[in-house]
């Protein structure tokens, strides 16, 4: 199992061929688990080529720790994680399905004790079923759910404490920023309260404004404020593997790799 370091980018279909052919420096790649797990054909070919060159981290969107993993899902994730020999896998602290209804979105939980217990137990079970540590990402949330009694950092911290050592944190710096702004808070105050000791990996992404809300769209360059917050995060955590997430309106692989180079220069100076 390899140890992860440096800066990676998301291996997305739109840029897959260009990325696999690039000579530019890149330390690792992330794949969306659902775009590769259990699939044959071209996704499998792309995965093999990526694995031959880089460390590949599966990052899922369907685990749904707030409800339950879809039937059979953890088996195919385990096969994917084994195939790329990933040091860990990641998903989100949220729910994405209720029963048989798949929403294909990352939906926030109410921040309360029962949700802590359910999410922690499901995360721990997932890590054990897959046989690797699981990192849970802090999701963007645009509305506080009814019944919430905890702050977002307190909720995340409680889930980690209840889940145990097999579960860590993937801190999405953009989500930290948009959540603070959308809820009228200071991003640096949120960072102060964040359980940074459990953070094992970072995400950086772009957001867009829609009305009075910042949406976590991954469709634009990383905002200057998020780059500044990234520096602040690294001051608290020390160097951590960092991923550039650009999923929509990707202008080309070089634009994403330019963002990766920028992150690397900040990371190396940290």
């Amino acid at each position: 199992m390899t140890k992860l370091a440096g800066v990676g980018i998301g291996l997305r279909r739109e840029i897959a061929e260009a990325l696999l052919g690039t000579r530019r420096h890149l330390d690792w790649v992330e794949v969306v688990s659902e775009n590769f797990a259990g699939l044959s054909g071209r996704p499998r070919d792309v995965l093999r080529r990526a694995r031959d060159r880089w460390t590949v981290i599966p990052h899922g969107v369907a685990l749904s720790v707030g409800t339950s993993a879809p039937e059979g899902y953890l088996d195919v994730v385990r096969a994917l994680v084994d195939e790329v020999d990933a040091p860990f896998f990641s998903d989100h602290l949220c729910y994405a399905s209720i029963g048989t209804h798949a929403f294909h979105d990352l939906l926030p939980l109410p921040f309360h004790a029962e949700a802590v217990a359910v999410a922690a137990a499901n995360a721990r079970s997932a890590a054990r079923a897959v046989g690797r540590p699981l990192l849970l990402e802090n999701v963007s949330y645009y509305a506080s759910m009814p019944g919430s009694v905890l702050s977002e950092p307190a909720f995340l911290g409680a889930v980690l404490e209840a889940a145990g050592p097999e579960v860590g944190v993937l801190l999405d710096v953009n989500n930290l920023y948009v959540n603070a702004i959308n809820h009228g808070r200071d991003p640096r105050a949120d960072l102060e309260a964040f359980p940074v000791a459990s953070v094992r990996q970072l995400h950086l992404a772009g957001h867009t404004r829609e009305g009075d809300v910042l949406l976590d769209t991954h469709s634009s360059p990383i905002a200057p404020e998020v780059w500044e917050l990234y520096r602040d995060v690294l001051r608290r955590t020390g160097p951590l593997p960092t991923l550039i997430e650009w999923d929509q309106n990707i202008p080309g692989v070089d634009a994403v790799l330019d963002e990766a180079d920028r992150a690397r220069s900040i990371l190396e100076a940290a």
Binding site: E34, G38, L39, S40, G41, R42, P43, R44, D45, V46, A62, G66, T67, P70, Y73, Y95, A96, S97, I98, G99, T100, H101, A102, F103, H104, D105, L107, L109, P110, E114, A115, V118, Y142, A143, S144, M145, P146, G147, S148, N182, H183, V213
Partner: protein
Amino acid sequence: MTLAAFFAEMDPFLRGERSAEDVLARLGPSSSGIGRFALYAELVRRQRGGIIDHFYRPVAAAAEAKEKGLFGRLRDAYLRQYPPTHWTPNEAARAFPGFLAEQPVVDAQLVALADYAWARFSVMHAAHRPGELGVDDAILVRHYAWDVAAYSDAVEHGTGEAALDATPRTLLLGRHRRASTLVVLTPSLAALIAMAVASGRRPALPAGLTASVVEEEARDLEARGLFPEGTALRIHEELA
């Protein structure tokens, strides 16, 4: 409020079947306000709709050319009838061609374009059977009453004004066995017979068509990466 009660309310809300006002009246208020809370039903609608939009861009272009707003109505009706139930987003798009075929307001052109879109996806995601000769799920033959391939390419690559040409086409779609790229071609009769023979059938050769021509087509399909190496030799033996 228990999680079970929370999800019991959120499920119909996120599927667009219950209003934010009704849900918050039952669950209690969101400190973010009703407008922000209501955003989640819209975000789910966009996410689910985006899957169909992405898969079926040529269908959308053709539908919108016929009637503005038609594709959006079809997509929304489809997602109501076939709400996604699988964690793979691709699965949410699978039933769309069949759904279109059942709609009285949809003409056959849209159905053909949707079928072609799903056929391309299918061959790109099917497993090759290594070591076996002949055809597998990564190679398909389709017949359309229009040139759906040219139209789809024009829409997806933004190359000029797309027009759906009323030229019947038989298409062979497959994934190159080494390059893993999509191959779409118009097969000759001999190539179709080569495919049949490679599949274990023994069609009678039409008058004027010789075994050597069929073998030549099989070699060409090998060269294009659609047949595994050795298939032409096997066909030669079968037809000898």
